[in-house]
Amino acid sequence: MDMHGHLGHDRRRFLALAAAASSVPLLSACGAGFGGGDSRSDGSAADDVTGSFDWRRHKGTTVRALLNKHPYTDALIADLKAFTAKTGIKVEYDVFPEDNYFDKLTVDLSSGRASYDIFMLGAYMVWQYGPPGWLEDLGPWMRNESATGAEWDQDDFLPSLLEGTQWSLKAGTPLGQGGQYALPWGWEANVVAYNMEVFDKLGLRPAESFDELRELAGTIKRKAPGAGFDGMYGVAVRGSRSWATIHPGFMTMFSRYKLKDFTVDGESLKPAMNSPEAITFTRDWADMVKKGGPPSWTSYTWYQCSSDLGAKKAGMLFDADTAAYFQAVKGASPAAGKIAFHPGPKGPDGSLATNMWIWSLGMNAKSEKKSAAWLFLQWATGKEHLRKGAIEYNHIDPVRKSVSEDPAYRDKMSELPGFIETFEAVQDQTRIQFTPQEQFFDATTSWASALQEIYGGKSAGPVLNGLADDLASKVG
């Protein structure tokens, strides 16, 4: 027996095994484990709070918050001392950049631990985090007068925003029913921002229809470079292979055409992004990007879109109003002072249906400091902090009517041409235009992938039919 050879062989095999195995624990070590969130109790911890409301009920307590790097977060952090002074509660927080924020949050929540009592999330995340029981239903807290101060004033919120974070946890059922799984804190409407300088020079006007928008985008790309705007293209829209590509401009225009992502048939969902009208629209959208969109569009996130508008590389931006706002304020970019806002093209029937993103605050269902965390949520979504954030910081797009009507806020925002008019024009028709369902991120990521393929030259019909077939088995 060749002992040396045998041992050598085993050693090599072990080395190969170990090297290969090192790739697998990546996932299983992420904290995912059975029991990550099944122990939902029917009784809410809010019921334990009795007596008169008292901001200092939990003085000396520390709550932990997980936050995404954002100007809204900057405003919150800058004002945290006021919360601690008011309540005696200390807030420890971690801030992560958006690229990996939601992965961090997902892994943390799925671990079933209460590492963070409070966190930022988008309304779409309620569809993913709500069904496993990771989010505290804030409804009982809102209804309990011992836990909630009278000045919090629930009726002051824009109704579509509170509805956007309320859901029955059942796929296909409309928002605005069931538990309140997060509180709206800031929102973003997807509208058009444009460079007034290039529009003036080329004698252009903002598009009132999708056909006009496509034409306008192509015109700017053809003519702007010759008019002194070197390298300028028509319209910046997102294009990366991510769910985030679908929800801003694309979904807004899609909705203005009365198109749907899914239709609800009894208890099941049927993909509808491959209806004949949707196929035509999607083909036209890809065509608009080809003729008037950014080079390297398939890598475009909100960041590139926003930067291009600020750098005078894009004539228009069809995205979140905040993405344009942060380029438009004085001194922020070369295009600052020359950016105006417009509601964007209307649908064939004049619709200004607009999709929105709601930055929200939620509470960990596993938190052991729910009552203190609720005090924090009340303060962070309360009139005092949100007014300060909107006027003194950059917490624009107020979720409260009292702030959006505040003269100081309107004065500040009126410096941006068309901002308030646009805000008011789309406000009533702005809501979440997607059908709520747990597989939202899979569906929209696949949708973005399909859009890239159509942009790459594949025929829209077969690509969208293939997408619909795939999603029917996953979502239906």
Binding site: S28, A32, F34, P295, S296, E438, D442, S449, G456
Partner: protein, 333 residues
Amino acid sequence: MNSSTEADHGAASSDDAAVAGAPEKASAAVPGPPAERGVPKWRRTLRPYLLIVPALLLTGGILYPFGLGLYYTVFDFAASKPQPDFVGLENYRRIFTDSSFWDSAWVTVLYAVGAAAVETVLGVAVALLLHRSTLVGRVLEKVLILPLMIAPVIAAIIWKLMLQPSVGVVNHLLRPFGLGGVQWTDTPTGALLSSIAVDVWVYTPFVAILALAGLRSLPASPFEAAAVDGAGWWFTFRKLTMPMLWPYVLVAVIFRFMDSLKVFDIIYALTEGGPGDSTVVLQIRAYLEAIRFQRYSFGLSYMIVLWAVVYLAAMVLVRYLGRIQNRAAEVPK
């Protein structure tokens, strides 16, 4: 030889101590190196086991989550199913009957073969150039490792900016040659080639350093003999340098091929798997399934399949390495 000498010496010293009426405890010590004298037997017995504790912990740290991951794959564990059911091999059946898996597997293999091949050729070429002891060679040798000091994900982000068609430096440099409009990552082929190019930029120095170390360890005598016999450069390279260098190169190939099969960071940072699904390698699909879409068991099944692929590839390559090493050992030194 040294150890036996010390042992003998130690034994003699023990005898001396006994003669001098040293304490009984010292004279009872088992003969051994001087440092062992006075060390209780239980400690000497325990020491080998203590020495392997770090290795055991490390192995356990790898194998426990691996085993746990394997265990999860026979359930339908997902965020939407926190109390999962046992499903046997259903996850694997779904994977192997899904065309997305085969697309991803194909992209993964293309990427791994492409990256490993280009890095090997370039790395060996760079090593051969640096092997000549010139001032430039010595300076470049130090500079060469710089890409290795950058995290691959950072390198990918840097390259993403450099490849940006309108403001990126690559198109700016190509513009005088009429190639300023290339959209590097907008087509499936372009995206894959760009990803491979970033991998090559980061890891070619790794191959070069291994090959250079190999070159410097080769014996001089066969080359001197070849020179005396009037052998040309090509003949020497083909018949002497490469056969003896192969074991070193193959080690680099094994590392790079296995690493490339598991690639995630470079592609995700550069293309996120797009356009379409054209650069969705197995690792990205596993990430999307397990983390983004929270279908844990299904994502882990992808990882186990990837592990099996890497393991099989490593087995074949390591076995081949053994054969090459034996063959290289036969070359007269």
